[in-house]
């Protein structure tokens, strides 16, 4: 057993200044990440094993971001299940879900409660797998006291791959593990690999399940996602590309260790340099030249960089978010001449600072295991010109009159969070334009003259 995160992290610089309490926490819980990953499997209903409030809160938090149906079941523990165990709740929940939703698979994740009472959930699921009347299950342990949504997501991806991927003869196909990116990002990644003619298992793929069309009748399980058959073939791919500069070891290891699928780790493709790296890796894997359309997209982006560069010179930015996204955004900011002065994340990786160094953003102050109070205090002291972060950074931005460009998760105070594109030349283009325009608008709105011609 580890020494516990508290002991480990009290040595880290800037960590909440040694306070016992978190104020305005920057973390949500691990099962939320797992639910998101399960949403990327076709025909899957997530089931949270514990008190029903966990499922309900996770649903509410995700609904407020994606604005999509979010049917997540619970095993609805009571006081007696807490004392005697949740075996019968789990069986009943699986039976009811199978009957009502006809899922291809039920994604089971645990809660603090189930993990603490010593519940042998995988053992119970093995027993229940013998019952032909119940849907098959996938399982991941997600105790929140060991990690936040970021870890829950990647642990779930790893667990799902461990339980589904099979070995066999190599296939001309790629595994692309994108991390907790937006549905729009996933759609763009799919477009990229399609343009290169590269058969790809993009996982998890909630691009449709969490950004679906208006429907005439309710879909108990939203259409879309990667199928169990595709996941089974993931062990036979020629290559896995895992996105996330901070993520280590990451779910790609499951496929390399068990099935010998070579693993390439890349940062999230935000910015020209980072996107070049992904495009080069994809083109090499496909054995085709980079398509002209993509080269043109890159060219327009660089041209925009030139148009906008002066508005960015000397401007300072604070970045708040999941570590992989925050690192990629910092690298992008450094690439365009913005100075990242602060990178704050609620997650605990111990690798964020090193990743920033490699991305040319090593001068930024780094706070891991942060809450919004301590991030807010540093932003107050550093007075950046712009904040890139989730909606939860809004109180800080408002108090200081600093513009906030909403990125990542959660975006609870705007619509269209699922359509926020961050990745690739196109996502970078959108971010770049919006970023420059946010700074221009702020300068314009706060100027005395208010020129309409800039």
């Amino acid at each position: 057993m580890s020494l516990g995160l508290e002991t480990q992290n009290s040595k880290m610089k800037n960590r909440r200044s040694g306070k016992a309490a978190a104020t305005n926490t920057c973390r949500v819980c691990a099962p939320l990440g797992a639910v998101l990953a399960f949403r990327g499997i076709r025909g899957c209903v997530p089931l949270v094993h514990g008190s029903q409030g966990c499922a309900t809160y996770i649903r509410r938090y995700l609904i407020s971001h994606f604005r999509e149906p979010m049917d997540v079941a619970s095993t609805s523990f009571t006081e007696s299940s807490t004392i005697f165990g949740g075996r019968s709740n789990l069986a009943e929940a699986l039976a009811n879900l199978t009957r009502a939703y006809h899922p291809e698979v039920v994604g089971v994740c645990t809660t603090c409660l189930a993990e603490t009472i010593g519940e042998d959930t995988p053992g119970m699921l093995r027993d229940l797998a013998r019952r032909p009347d119940l849907a098959p299950t996938l399982f991941v342990a997600t105790p929140s006291f060991k990690g936040c949504q970021h870890r829950g997501f990647h642990d779930a991806v790893a667990a799902i791959l461990a339980q589904t991927a099979q070995g066999g003869t190599r296939l001309r196909q790629l595994n692309l593990l994108a991390g907790p990116v937006s549905p729009a990002d996933l759609r763009h990644l799919r477009e990229l690999v399609d343009a290169l003619g590269l058969p790809t298992i993009l996982f998890p793929d909630y691009s449709e399940t969490l950004d679906g069309p208006s429907l005439a009748s309710y879909a108990p399980i939203p259409a879309g996602g990667i199928s169990l058959e595709e996941l089974a073939r993931a062990g036979r791919s020629a290559l896995t590309i895992q996105l996330g500069a901070v993520l280590e070891p990451g779910p790609g290891e499951v496929l390399s260790e068990r099935h010998g699928v070579p693993l390439t780790r890349l940062g999230l493709p935000i910015g020209v340099t980072a996107t070049d790296a992904l495009v080069a890796a994809l083109a090499a894997a496909a054995g085709v030249p980079i398509p002209d359309a993509l080269t043109a997209e890159r060219g327009r982006l660089v041209d925009a960089y030139v148009d906008g560069h002066k508005y960015l010179a000397g401007q300072r930015v604070a970045i708040v978010g999941d570590p992989d996204l925050a690192a990629a955004l910092a690298g992008f900011c450094a690439e365009i001449g913005l100075t990242p002065v602060l990178v704050g994340s609620g997650a605990v990786t111990g690798r964020l600072a090193a990743a920033l160094g490699q991305l040319g953003a090593g001068s930024a102050e780094v706070i891991e295991d942060a809450d919004h109070e301590c991030i807010g205090a540093r932003i107050t002291a550093l007075r950046p010109d712009l904040i890139l972060g989730p909606s939860k950074s809004y109180p800080t931005a408002r108090a200081l009159g600093i513009p906030l460009l909403r990125v990542g998760f959660p975006v609870h105070d705007r619509i269209g969070a699922g359509r926020l594109l961050h990745l690739g030349y196109r996502g970078t283009q959108r971010l770049f334009d919006e970023l420059v325009n946010t700074l221009l608008a702020n300068a314009q709105d706060t100027s005395e003259t208010g020129y309409a011609y800039l």
């Binding site: 604005r67 009571t78 060991k146």
Partner: protein
Amino acid sequence: MLDARTSQVVTAGDGRSVVCDRPSVAGSVTQRACSFCGARVVLYPIGDALHLVHGPAGCAAYTWDIRGSLSSGSQLHRLSFNTDIRENEVIFGGEKKLQRALRELVAQHRPKAAFVYATCLTGVIGDDVEAVCRGATAELGIPVIPVQSEGFRGTKKHGYSAACQALAQLIGTGDTTGISRLSINILGDFNIAGEIWAIKAYFAAMGIKVVASMTGDGRIDDIRRAHGATLNVVQCAGSMTSLAKLMKETYGIPFVQVSFFGLEDCAAALYEVAAHFGDAEVLARTRALVRAETASVLPELARLRQDLEGKVAALYVGGAFKAFSLVKALRQLGMRVAMAGTQTGAPQDYEHLKELCDGGTILADDTNPLELAGWLADCDVDLFIGGVKERPVAYKLGVGFCDHNHERKIGLAGFSGMAAFAREVHATVMSPVWRLVPRHQFRVSSSEFRDAKKESMP
């Protein structure tokens, strides 16, 4: 529908009674939450208290500043405080961390009191929250009150009573000198978008003083002297009746159950309170107030009703009293309720709801997205009223929606609130976007097709 759920759904007029007040069926995708949620929603609006969630980060993150409860002073309730329990405390216990957190936070924020919410995790690791709170009360000089809100203890309803127990520890500890006989406490209004201010203004106009509002725009010192009031006025009956009963037993304060939603119920509430005091002047002022307030909103309601007449609504809300008021308010707008349900209704509530609703109305206890989606489609509903968790069910099917839960930012209580409600209903039901959704597109295109055919034929 799952077999285990059939007894919880009836149709008005079919002679059956709704089976309710029981734990949710595992795997049913209930819309209900846990005890922690219930306790947190009841106590949250107390603006000058420290609300410390003793548990993992998630429980605190999910309840951080999500509600529309306003405060006229301290905004401390809008911050999220958490002991952020990690593996270390799971192994060695979280009491020391709780103690340290209380010391830090009380020194930093100087609250009038602190509520410490127990969660599943700190419940099962065996932390003695009560003992830590006792110690902290003595050490820090403010009441530090444990809230027995471990999620597994039950549904939201259990959490409501845990919150009431916590409030009961404060009541009776303040000085009641100078409190007028014409005085009340308001229980179960949470000052969403300033609702309690509208209601307090009505009571002020009637000549009645409000001692404590529990808990909307609530203050610890007011709550401590709440036992000096003459009458308890309970709005959200499901959450606060247990406190009203307790205060009746302990202090002999009678209570009335009312609702401030809708013209009819709001007027009835004010008259009921006035009648309790048997004071001719109060009654005369109440009459004048109700007359003036009603007159100020009726023209607008009549105008909006012209468009809404005959439209069909469904509603699924937390408590039954809100459901009663909504059925009446929708009727005032000319709308028919095809389905009504609650998370926490009691048997007598559903009996009353049955009487209130037209025959054929579907009544459901503790329902879920699949059932709701089925009813929205089958009843061809124009409007669904619920909370954020129900919203995507309606929107995905191209059905108008109004949030009547705690996260809304529009005040819907009182006479002016009824006008705001009518405007919101009108804004969603009359939007042109529904013409384009698949549910209606067939209808639109087929009628357009008919029109086109008519034109083409000489």
